[in-house]
Amino acid sequence: MSTAARYIPTRVAAASSPRARHFLYVVAALARTEFKLRYAGSVLGYLWTLLRPLMLFGILYTVFTQVFRFGGGIPHYPVMLLMAIILFSFFADATNGALQSLVQRDNLLRKVAFPRAAIPVAVCLTAAANLLLGLVVVFTLAIIDGVEVRAEWLAFAPILAVILGLATTVSLLLAVLYVRYRDVQAMWEVILQLLFWGTPIIYTIETVPERVREVLMLNPLAVAIQQVRHLIDDRAPSAADAIGRPILLLVPAFITLGVAALGLFTFSRLAPTVAEDL
């Protein structure tokens, strides 16, 4: 239309801060309040983030050393079990929480322009904060349990980074899909169950037949957690040993990258119209 010519183009709208910083401010503020709200009204408050893994450890220790004697032959079984459970719970908490996060914050999304990813990322950050506190407990218990402190423990950091990255990108994917398709929730519940049993958490990878093992090790979480076991006690096989040939580790690596790329791509495609789709 000819009308457009009448207008002198002006600068394009921008928020008060550059986008990246705006994103960080929102993530920090939301994560902080979420952490605060979680234990609002409880007497022990933040202590629960430490008490929960401790109590869980107490139960696991009693059950598996006194009742079932399931992990009898495995060194430091309760510590390994607790570690795996805490890592997996982080993944489950982050993704489950993020799944509904956009829909729950619809009021915010419909009324304020801010980087949309901040909401699911804040959920993941809160879960990560809980995870870190939990890990402090696990490592303390590990040392008490007589696990040898080794320099290899440093390799824990990159593994943790992979788990965090995977949880975050999956969270982005689930959150934005849930806005459009409510079946995502039911589906994810089933997939999480599948992942739980497809990861050497309760059982050890050595007890699994070799053919099944190859399939299990396609699961990035299984690889990560198996490697963590190996780090704690090198009598447990490393991920490469478990899969047979180290080159095969590329498959779960590609799966991780693929899932991450899918999450980021889908989110960036659907996020701009999320306010209208809610």
Binding site: M1, S2, T3, A4, R6, Y7, I8, P9, T10, R11, V12, A13, A14, A15, S16, S17, R21, H22, Y25, V26, A28, A29, L30, R32, T33, K36, L37, A40, N107, L108, L109, R110, K111, V112, A113, F114, R180, Y181, R182, D183, P272, T273, A275, E276
Partner: protein, 438 residues
């Protein structure tokens, strides 16, 4: 009809006219041929199953044009009002300006930074204290946490909540909540502020404070885009206003004119609504109100009355049954549904006698309209047996408008005289006393 031609003249026939609109070197907001189209959310498949079963349904769903070719410019430092009925596209426009929605088509440019806030108290969590909420609010506005912490005391002072800082928001009154929301929202040093219906809540004094803030913004060369139903506020504070109707910009210009057009337009559309949907009516039908209208002293029917001039409300009533001392009455209601005036023959102790079945009467009330400028409706009714039974009650049967020469803040404008008497000072009194003594 004169009314229709009046606003037909104002319709932007071709956009390269519009003489009243200033040409701007650097506009604060530029909106050219803006369209926003929504896919209708009706029956949208939410689950994959529905999508599989009804693969075409979503594609068949209709579209809604919330904004149609909206074109306007706002100058820096301008206080710009947007009015329109519910669903006219006001909020959609604001959300496009705020960046919440992406325009479907057209040009949209905002010079400088725009406050992403379009409603107060967004993101407030009632389980948290003022401080936590202000911090979340600031983050959404893109304010660094350090700055937000530094300005917290000032926010609390502005919101007048010094004594309630420790309280969780769930224990706040609605007024306190809004005050905090406003104080938190204005902390962003943005060039363009978007305001949606803030004045609906909060007490008068705080509203004044809000407007004082807006005036300060104006002096600082900041632009305010203000969406509201409150026509008085538009008239008092806005430099210019935009009237939206069904997503189209009907008129842009002087607030007073725009409000005038809005009212006429509103009445026009309401009249057409009547045909589509009958207004509530009840009664046993012993008598029937056939027609009702207002007229002036020359017998000319009017739907626009002038304040302080006499007008007569008339209702033609046909009696199906013979009634003894039927009661006739009428309620005048303003836009907010307040009964601003109610009269009936029972209150006035008028004996209406026996009215035989099959006869028709005209019930008339001559009055001097002392109502504020605005849109009103009249609901006539006929009752009997000391108002225990209703023959016919027609709610909001007649829509009319009152036009006033001078503004009033109230719902009515009484005939009044104002005087100012100087009280003699003590000195003068003593002088007088002294004079008398001498």
């Amino acid at each position: 009809m004169t009314v229709e031609t009046d606003f037909a003249r104002r319709l932007p026939e071709s956009s390269d006219k519009a003489p009243e609109e200033p040409r701007l070197e650097q506009a604060a907001v530029t909106c050219g041929g803006l369209w926003k189209t929504f896919r209708m959310p009706v029956d949208r498949p939410y689950t994959l199953k529905q999508r599989v079963i009804h693969p075409r349904r979503s594609r068949a769903a209709g579209t809604l044009h919330a904004l149609r070719d909206v074109t306007f410019q706002i100058a820096p430092g301008e206080f710009f009002g947007v009015i329109g009925r519910n669903g006219s596209g006001k909020s959609t426009l604001l959300k496009c300006l705020a960046g919440v929605y992406r325009p479907t088509r057209g040009e949209l440019a905002v010079a400088g930074r725009v406050s992403p806030f379009i409603e107060l108290g967004v993101g407030f969590n009632t389980e948290l204290t003022a401080f936590d909420n202000v911090m979340v609010n600031a983050s959404l506005l893109g304010i660094p946490p350090r700055e937000a912490r530094a300005s917290f005391d000032e926010i609390i002072r502005f919101a007048e909540l010094e004594d309630f800082v420790e309280l969780k928001l769930k224990n706040y009154s609605s007024g306190m909540y809004v005050r905090l929301g406003f104080a938190a929202a204005i902390q962003a040093k943005t060039d363009v502020l978007l305001v949606d219906e803030v004045l609906a809540v909060g007490d008068m004094r705080f509203q004044q404070k809000c407007f004082d803030t807006f005036r300060r913004f104006k002096r600082e060369g900041r632009t305010v885009v203000f969406v509201t139903h409150d026509l008085a506020a538009i008239e008092r504070f806005c430099d210019r206003a935009l009237l939206l109707e069904a997503g189209e910009a009907i008129a842009i210009g002087d607030p007073e004119e725009i409000i005038h057009i809005y009212r006429q337009h509103d009445l026009g559309t309401r009249r057409s609504d009547v045909e589509a949907e009958p207004k509530p009516r009840w009664g046993d039908g012993a008598a029937e109100i056939v027609a009702a209208w207002f007229e002036d002293d020359y017998g000319q029917r009017r739907n626009v009355l002038t304040q302080a001039e006499p007008a007569t409300f008339r209702a033609r009533v046909r009696f199906e049954q013979t009634l003894v001392n039927p009661i006739f009455g009428v309620i005048l209601e303003n836009e907010r549904g307040h009964h601003v005036f109610v009269t009936n023959t029972m209150f006035d102790r008028i004996a209406t006698g026996v009215i035989a079945a099959g006869t028709e009467v005209i019930y008339s009330v001559r009055l001097v309209v002392q109502l504020a400028d605005g849109a009103y409706s009249a609901s006539p009714a006929v009752a009997y047996e000391d108002a225990f039974r209703f023959a016919d009650w027609r709610e909001r049967l007649v829509d009319f408008e009152v036009r006033a020469e001078r503004p009033t803040g109230g719902i009515a404008d009484f005939v009044h005289e104002t005087s100012l008497d100087h009280i003699p000072t003590r000195h003068a009194v003593e002088d007088g006393v002294k004079g008398r003594l001498e």
